[in-house]
Every structure is written in C-alpha cells, then in structure tokens.
C-alpha cells in the first residue's frame, strides 16, 4: 500500500497566502472602526461636560468656546420618536399583510419588491421629497415634524423587513391551534402571532431607530437649522444632533470643531445605546439562551 501523497509545496504556499490575505482583510476592516472610535472618544471628551448637555448655541459668538447641544439633543429625540410613531404602525401592518393576508399574490409581491427597493432610497432623496411635498407643495414651514416624515420614509422598509421575518418565524402550528379553537383570524394575529414575535419585532424597531438617529441629510432640507431651543416639533425650525455635528464641523475655528467632536461622541453614544438595547432584547428572548 502506498502512503498518501503529501500536498505539494506550491499548493500549500498558495493556501497560506490566501489565509494571510483573509486575515489581513479582516484587520483592514477593523482598523478604521478602532480609529474612528478612538478619535471620537479622545477628542470628544474635552467638551463632554454638563454645559454641553444643558445649553444651546444661542448667543454664542463665532470664536467662543462655550455653548452646547441641548437644543440638538432635544430635537433629535423628538424627531426620532415621531418618526417611530409614524413608521411603526404602517410598517407593522404592512408586514402583517405580507405574511398573513398576502398569499404571495401579485399585490403582495409588488409590495415586497418595492419595500426592498425603498431600502435603497438615498436619505437625501427622502429629505428632498418631504421638502417638495410638505414644504413646497402643501406650504408648511420647516419643522421637526417634517424631519420626522423624512426619517419615517427611511425607517419603514427596515421595520417591514424585520417584522416580516419575525412573523414568518412563528410556527404555523400555533395559528392552526388557534383556528381550531374557533378564534377568528385577526384575533389569532393579535393574541397569538404578535405576542410570539414581539421581542423580535421590538429588536427590529430599535435597530431601525438607531439607523435613522444618525441621519443628517434629510434633516438639512426639512428641519432646517437653529441655534436656539425649540421644544415644539410642530412649528418652526429645530435642530438635530447630526445636523449640529455637520454645522460645527464645517466652521473654521477650533472651538467649533471641538464641539463637533463632542456632538459626534454624544451621537455615537445614543446610537450604540439603542443598538445595545436591541441586542439585549434579542438575546433575552432568544431560544438559544440557556442551552
């Protein structure tokens, strides 16, 4: 019996080279992440103080070091909350239609396809649409609400996709058991299907919120811009945290750039926190836990 032939040197070298390249690619992807986070934290901590979190930019001169992002933080929280209030019901009902009522018919396939396409709409186009429709065509003023409309367009497809996925994971046995007891279809959906998929849906919503919280472009043409505090999202220009960073970063003096870094740090903290909460909810109810 002959022994198994050794793998030739050239083949082994090729294998090693590719392995090295693959490891290198991963390192190349992680380097920018570490670099971004490091710079944001080290530069952002300089101004990350109580004044930054509790004051607006009202009355702050071009070269002054003071001022803060309170107005922007308030604006972002309100706009994102409103965007959620608009897009979650629409997204959830669309997902229910696709899973429970669509039967893979022509309408449901069309909706499904355009939800995918909608995921790819550039955020700046969503902003321009709300500007063209809400502000130019209907004649309303710039407001936090207009920004929320634009953000909700970006949120909807994400909510639909994640909710749809979660609803499809609900075992059909549960539905059939409910029907067998004589429960109407809509009661089955509300009392059996949705509670079963609840945590998954919440996770998807949190991730969608985290995604739009960092969007700047659609706010430029809907929320516009202000240096003072506006608690009312339904009238007058507001500010958003991403907008604050964009504005301060484009100014030529160091005090403004410092504020931009601190704004970026605050924004990343908010987004990461939302992400973390979403992951925790997913982990908390995941079937793999405790195995």
């Amino acid at each position: 019996m002959t022994t198994i032939q050794h793998i030739s040197t050239s083949r082994r070298i090729k294998d090693r080279v590719v392995q090295g390249l693959v490891y290198l690619a991963f390192a190349a992807a992680v380097v920018p992440l570490v670099s971004v986070l490091w710079l944001v934290i080290s530069n952002g901590l300089a101004r990350f103080d109580l004044e930054f979190l509790t004051h607006s930019m009202n009355g702050i001169g071009a070269r002054d070091a003071h001022g803060g992002a309170y107005h922007a933080i308030i604006g972002t929280l309100q706009q994102v909350l409103l965007a959620g209030v608009i897009s979650v019901p629409i997204g959830l009902f669309t997902a229910i239609y696709l899973v429970e009522y669509g039967n893979n018919g022509r309408l449901s396939r069309a909706i499904s396809f355009f939800v995918d396409v909608m995921t790819g709409i550039p955020s700046v186009v969503a902003g321009l649409f709300v500007f063209a429709f809400w502000i130019l065509f209907l004649g309303f003023e710039y407001s936090g609400w207009a920004g929320a409309l634009a953000l909700s367009i970006l949120m909807m497809p994400t909510v639909v996709r994640s909710a749809e996925e979660m609803l499809r994971l609900v075992p059909n046995d549960l539905r059939e058991a409910s029907y067998a007891l004589g429960v109407a279809k809509w009661r089955t959906i509300v009392k059996v299907v949705l509670p079963t998929a609840f945590t998954g849906i919440v996770t998807g919503i949190m991730l969608a919120v985290a995604r739009v919280a960092g969007e700047t472009a659609p706010l430029l043409m809907t929320v516009f811009f202000t240096n003072s505090i506006n608690h009312d999202p339904f009238s007058g220009p507001q500010m958003g945290l991403p907008l604050f960073v964009f504005d301060q970063a484009a100014r030529p003096n160091d005090t403004a750039v410092d504020r931009a870094w601190t704004g970026a740090l605050t924004l990343i903290l908010i987004v990461m926190l939302l992400n973390l909460v979403a992951r925790l909810i997913a982990w908390w109810r995941s079937p793999a836990r405790g195995r």
Binding site: R11, K14, D15, V18, Q19, L21, V22, Y23, A25, F26, A28, A29, V30, L33, S35, V36, V40, N43, F93, I96, E100, Y101, L107, A110, F113, D116, V117, M118, G120, P122, S123, V124, V125, L128, F131, A132, L136, F137, M156, G182, A184, W186, R211, G214, E215, T216, A217, L220, M221, F225, P242, V245, F246, A249, A264, L267, I268, V271, M272, N275
Partner: protein
C-alpha cells in the same frame, strides 16, 4: 364558522359569540392591506413630487441639463448634471473597487476561517461599522484621513504620475476624490460583507466536505465549492453597496471640495457628487436653485433605483434557485 359545531354540553355553539369574534376581521384586513398600498403610494409620490417641483427650474434652465457641467442656478440659471453625475458614479465605483475585495475577505474570514466561537462576535464588530453615523465618518475623514493621505498621495503622484489616476499638477493631496472614495468604501464594507457572509454560509456542506475529502486545501475547497456558489450573492451585495455609496451624502459633503469638473485625477482636489452638492448647496439656494437641486435629486433617485432593482432581481432569482435546491 358552521353551526354544527357543538359545545361540551351538546348544545350548538352560540352564533352571537362567533359573529362577535369575527367582527374585527374585515377592518383588520383592510387596515393591513391599506398599509401595504400606502407604501406603494409613497414610492409613487416620491417620483411624482420630485418631478413636479423640478420642472419649473428645468424650464428656466438656459443650458442643457444633461451635458452642462457648471452649476449656477441661483444667479445665471445655468446648471447641468454632467460633472455631478460623473463624480457620483466615479467615486462610488472607486469605493466599490476598494471595498469589495476586503469585504469578500472579511466574509470568508467569518464564515470559513475564524474559530466557531469567535465568528459571531467578530461579525458583530463589522456590523458596528455600519452603526457609526455618516456625519461622524465625514468628521473623521476631514480631521484624520485627509492629513494622513497627503504624503502618500505626493509620493504616488511623483513616482507613478504617468498612470492617469495618479496624474495631475499643482496641489496634490488634501480634500481629494481618493479620500472621499476611501470613506465611502469603509461605509459600504459592512453591507457587502454581511450579505456575502450569509451566502458563503449557505454553500452546500456536502460539496465542501467532498472537496476536503479529495485532498483539497482549504483555499482549493473555497475556490471550488464556496465561491462559485456565492458569486451571484456577492455580485448583488456589491450592487447594493454601489447604490448605498451613490446616495451617501454628508460624509462626502464634508470631504469633497465641491468643484465642477470631469477628471480622473484622484489625487488633486477636484471632486463632487450629486448628493454632496445637494447638502452643500441647499442652504443658500433660491427658488430656482432649490428646483435645480430637486432635479439633481431626481437623477440620483433614478440611478440608485436602477442599481437597487438590478441587485434585488439577482437576489430574488437566487432565492428561488436556493429553495428549489433545498
């Protein structure tokens, strides 16, 4: 609900309760269907209102919108999309060329190279790249990447200046196409990596094991069993990344120097894109200017729509194929 269903006592099920339960059925179905149709209506409305608000500006335009390079809608009513569209396509293509190989490497690393236990957390690390807001990448690009690239750019220009991409005279480095493309590449990397990873994980285990059993090295196994299977998925992932890069706004608005010329020199400060121009120009635009920006947004919408629809069609065809094979 039929009446011959009996309760435990043997009497017929009360009709009233059954009809009360199904009371909400019709409204619930209608609301669900309406939500789906509303989504379609929003897509249609985006097209309709962008067109209707862009038309007045396009009529007032004294140049040919598709061939004119300059953008002076506010004062001279002369504007065109040529240079901006070129910048959008060129910067996104560059970003794709940089990001795709790295993303494939990352996807392979997570699906076939990393230890099982580490694969999921490392994948999450890459997903974190997508969670960083785009304005933060812009800030990072201006403050860190642009200065970092200055010396290598000058070296490339000096030694490889004969190559069209690295050619150019005058100021070398700074806010260049290269810096913008690198930032775009970082931003689209997570989406390409995530989809590719999913596709690679779906590659039939039997084929992989068969290849290994025949004595193939790990790379040969991947080349024979994983990559051919994953190719359509990777292509559509790259197209989705391309669509993402084209629509990316704030990061490039901070980095690109907002010039209006068509050049392949990536080391000189000449770069712009449709989205960056909208973000930079919106604040000081008058009525015609805003109409012109909406018109450019419409062009961007159509380009990204075509790219995304193409990508989705490839994915969907793949889905059926995968299901048939399962």
């Amino acid at each position: 609900m039929t009446t011959n269903v009996r309760t435990r006592e043997g009497g017929p099920v009360k009709h009233r309760s059954a009809s009360r339960r199904s009371h909400g059925e019709a409204p619930f179905r209608i609301v669900s269907t309406a939500a789906g149709i509303l989504l379609l209506a929003i897509m249609a409305a985006i097209a309709v209102f962008l067109i209707s608000e862009a038309l007045p500006a396009l009529r007032a335009n004294e140049a040919d919108f598709f061939t004119e390079r300059t953008w002076n809608p506010n004062s001279e009513r002369v504007f065109g999309i040529a240079a901006l569209a070129f910048g959008t396509v060129f910067s996104s293509a560059l970003a794709l060329v940089i990001a795709t190989p790295i993303a494939i490497g990352v996807a392979l690393f997570i699906s076939h190279y990393a230890p099982r236990r580490l694969a999921a957390p490392l994948g999450y690390l890459i997903d974190l790249l997508a969670a960083v807001p785009s304005v933060v990448y812009g800030l990072w690009g201006v403050a860190f990447l642009v200065p970092l690239l200055r010396t290598p750019s000058q070296w490339l220009n000096e030694h490889l200046g004969w190559f069209p991409l690295f050619a150019g005279e005058g100021i070398i480095g700074g806010k260049t196409m290269l810096a913008g493309a690198i930032v775009l590449a970082i931003m689209i990397l997570p989406i390409i990596a995530a989809i590719s990873r999913e596709v690679f994980l779906q590659a039939p285990k039997m084929n992989e094991e068969a290849a290994l059993a025949l004595g193939a090295t790990r790379w040969e196994m991947i080349k024979m069993a994983v990559l051919p299977f994953g190719r359509p998925g990777v292509i559509s992932a790259a197209m989705l990344g391309l669509g993402r890069a084209m629509g990316e706004t704030i990061a490039v608005a901070l980095i690109f120097p907002a010039t209006f010329d068509i050049t392949f020199e990536i080391l000189t400060p000449h770069a712009n894109s449709i989205a960056a121009n909208i973000a930079n120009g919106f604040g000081e635009a008058n009525d015609i200017g805003r109409g012109a920006l909406i018109a450019s947004g419409l062009v961007l919408f159509v380009i990204t729509l075509l790219v995304n629809m193409g990508a989705r069609m490839i994915i969907n065809r793949r889905k059926e194929y995968a299901r048939a094979g399962a």
